[in-house]
């Protein structure tokens, strides 16, 4: 379907999978979450609850300047006037924001380790277990890692090498101390505190996160990577990431996430802001594997995240690639504001839901500049009793002369008790702008599985192969090591979906 009119398109839901029962593909128990261990480490937490004092505590703990404290307090005031959004296709009981702890730090990290040798060995072991060895010599060549454990950043590797090129890659707290002018200039410039309920909350209480600045004309020679992990109980994780690529700069950033198994839901409300100036390119890849809850839907992370990139400069480019397999609920729309003429926005997404998981994810491409282009490729896979929704907006503003969008949203269903839904909103306000949208919904077929079995593959390997094939266009956007990890993750998340 191609739409080039300025009429918003009606919402087009795809049919529920329940239409056609398939006797061979029935969902059974999912495999255990492998990253569900808890690290036994002393941590410093504050009592549950949120008020000005909480905000002051966090700010003081981080030794923040007055302007940032004021910024947080304003956000808190804003948040109090807002109500939680209800438009997403997800269901969950009301969240008691006063029952959440807004700060947790491993005790040993309290006096900020200067180098890896000073990092608590327990913490290092945790990351080893997660497959993220922080020891530089053990690192995959070309990946620098910032690891965020609960509320604080515990280590940043390869810092010196990057610093020699003028690249800043550090924890957010450190950036506030060391590069306040940059933080002040860009913080909240893409996602204002008042943007939405969860962004306002994050702005008030954000704990840590990563900061990247790549100076003019510099191509960052390695992938920058952050690993987030929630460890402490009852804590929310509210990280804040800011990436700025100055004129002609390039950076590829990877983000991975895990959390222990707990039978209560935990909130994760992050904000990520990207800024690309003239000719700059930012590639942002996520493999999100927060604990999804058990097979009955108990526990799991609420992943309510605001991610947005501003292509401010002429010919700038921002590319989001996400593989979302975790979380009980995902509410996430990595977006691009295509302000500079000839700027490019991309969104490649694989979202897999199993058991009782719910995902409402997609993107927004806001075309402001002339000849701006955007591409959306979304692959939703639903299994078990899960609900998987693509929600996207393509908006071509009156100045977006000659702008183009291509969107492709495919859904794959495994079993007959899950749902796939597609809500593509299109809003075109310039006659020369073109929007192309394609969508498909298919079901893993008995015949496809049988064909692969006939060539010697076990049922699960067959399903895996079909799903990986379905996701291929997205996986090839990921850096090599991440693509391999993403494939494995899909396999694990799918185990037990056919029997």
């Amino acid at each position: 379907m191609t739409a080039a009119s300025d009429q918003p398109l009606p919402v087009v839901p795809t049919p529920d999978a329940a239409d056609e029962p398939n006797r061979e593909l029935k969902a059974i128990a999912a495999k255990d979450y492998e990253w569900g261990f808890v690290t036994d480490i002393e941590s410093e937490t504050i009592p549950p609850g949120l008020d000005e004092d909480t905000v002051r505590f966090i700010s003081a703990k981080k030794g923040e300047p007055e302007w940032l404290l004021q910024w947080r307090l304003e956000a808190l005031a804003r948040w109090r006037t807002m109500t939680e959004p209800t438009w997403a296709f997800v269901k969950y009981p009301p969240i008691d924001y006063q029952a959440i702890r807004y700060y947790a730090a491993p005790k040993s990290a309290a006096d900020k380790p200067k180098s890896l040798d000073e990092v608590d060995p327990e913490l290092l072991a945790t990351y080893e277990k997660l497959g993220i060895p922080l020891k530089e010599q053990a690192l995959l060549a070309g990946v620098a890692v910032d690891a965020v454990f609960d509320s604080v950043s515990v280590a940043t590797t390869f810092k010196d090498k990057l610093a020699s090129m003028g690249i800043i890659f550090c924890s957010f707290s450190e950036a506030v101390r060391e590069h306040p002018e940059l933080v002040k200039r860009y913080l909240g410039s893409v996602v204002p505190t008042s943007d939405n309920y969860f962004a306002a909350l994050n702005s008030a209480v954000f704990s840590d996160g990563s900061f990247v600045y790549v100076p003019k004309g510099v191509r960052c020679p390695m992938e920058l990577s952050t690993y987030f992990r929630i460890n402490a109980a009852d804590t929310g994780q509210f990280e804040r990431t800011l990436i700025v690529a100055d004129e002609g700069a390039y950076v590829s950033y990877l983000e991975g996430c895990t959390a222990p198994k707990r039978d209560v839901n935990q909130l994760h409300a992050a904000v990520v802001e990207l800024v690309a100036l003239d000719g700059a390119e930012i590639k942002y890849s996520t493999v999100q594997n927060w604990y999804p809850g058990d097979k009955d839907g108990k526990g799991g992370i609420y992943n309510f995240v605001t991610k947005r990139g501003a292509c401010r400069g002429h010919k700038s480019k921002i590319s989001w690639t996400q593989v979302e397999t975790g979380s009980a609920i995902t509410w996430k729309y990595p977006s691009c504001i295509l302000q500079g003429d000839d700027s490019v926005g991309e969104f490649y997404s694989v979202a897999l839901t199993n058991n009782h998981q719910q995902a409402d994810t997609g993107t927004k491409m806001i075309h402001i500049g002339r000849n701006t282009r955007s591409t959306i490729v979304s692959k939703g896979i639903s299994a078990g009793r899960s609900q998987n929704t693509y929600r996207g907006l393509v908006r071509m503003l009156p100045g977006a002369v000659g702008a183009r969008n291509y969107s492709q949203c495919d859904s794959l269903l495994i079993g007959d008790r899950c749902g796939a839904h597609t809500f593509p909103y299109i809003d075109v306000r310039h006659p020369s702008a073109r929007v192309e949208h394609e969508a498909s919904t298919s079901k893993i077929g008995e015949d496809q599985i049988f064909y692969l079995q006939q060539r010697g593959l076990a049922t699960e390997d067959a399903v895996n192969m079909i799903v990986n094939g379905f996701c291929k266009e997205v996986f090839r956007e990921l850096p090599m090591e991440f693509a391999v990890e993403a494939q494995k993750l899909l396999g694990i998340s799918l185990e037990g979906t056919v029997g």
Binding site: E24, G445, E446, D447, Q448, F450, Y451, L452, Q453, Q454, R455, G456, L457, A458, T459, D461, M465, I466, N468, G469, F470, C471, K472, E473
Partner: protein
């Protein structure tokens, strides 16, 4: 190698095979001919273990084992190969990925080491060349956008790579021009050996000019109603299937 006795099978409520007997000794090539809808593909599906076909009576022994007891992938690993009448498309999965995974599953079953990527590619390319297939076919998604003829060649390529003990070819000749037919036949003939057996399902005697069968069977009314040598195929070509008494109780 293959002994089928009193096989009855249905799809849904509909009985398709009713008391079929068929024996294929090791080293032989048997052809199965029969009118459209007589159950030839259903027989092939029973042998491969397709879940849509329900066996209601009879036994199938393969190399001394009860074939019906095995899962489809176990049958494949034990050397049963089916060249599908309608090969399935698997978007995003390359031919070479499927071939390598399949071959390594079979090798693991035989207690052999997996073939590394280079050795595998050499092997697959060599077989593809024999079938006159462009090597880029290996990188394309399984059967996606393939022409009818390409799909059939691809089935034969998979057979050559997997080296089955018992190969069932379900109308692999249909939709092929004469040159393609010869290529496919040469692929099958290359694999003929005293250790293997073939069950070649076809509608036309034409294929049997190139793959010369030891025995020809006629399937009609859910069972084998005639068994003979090559001349039976010629006779069918001449007279059609009308003269066969499909209600006859006894085969031959």
């Amino acid at each position: 190698m293959l002994e089928i006795q009193g096989l009855s099978a249905r799809v849904g409520e509909k009985p398709i095979l009713e008391g079929l007997d068929l024996v294929v000794p090791t080293g032989e090539v048997h052809a199965v001919m029969g009118p459209n809808g007589s159950g030839k593909s259903t027989l092939a599906k029973v042998l491969a273990g397709h879940p849509s076909v329900e066996v209601t009576a009879g036994t199938v022994r393969y190399l001394g084992q009860d074939l019906l007891e095995l899962d489809p992938e176990e049958r494949a690993r034990e050397g049963v190969f089916l060249a599908f009448q309608y090969p399935i498309e698997i978007p995003g999965v390359s031919n070479s990925t499927l071939l390598r995974e399949g071959l390594n599953a079979v090798r693991a079953h035989r207690g052999e080491k997996p073939l590394d990527a280079m050795d595998f590619l050499k092997l697959a390319r060599a077989h593809a060349a024999k079938l006159g297939m462009d090597p880029t076919m290996l990188g394309r998604s399984v059967n996606e956008g393939f022409s009818g003829g390409e799909k059939k060649r691809n089935e034969v390529l998979q057979m050559l790579v997997l080296e089955p003990r018992l190969a069932v070819l379900d109308e692999t000749d249909s939709g092929l021009d004469i040159d393609a037919l010869k290529v496919v036949a040469s692929g099958v003939n290359a694999l003929r050996s005293p250790e293997r057996a073939f069950l070649v399902i076809t509608h036309y005697q034409r294929l049997l000019d190139h793959i010369v069968p030891d025995v020809v069977h006629v399937l009609a009314g859910g069972r084998i109603v005639r068994t003979g040598d090559r001349s039976l195929a010629l006779e069918l070509e001449e007279k059609g299937y009308g003269w066969l008494d499909t209600t006859a109780g006894a085969a031959r």
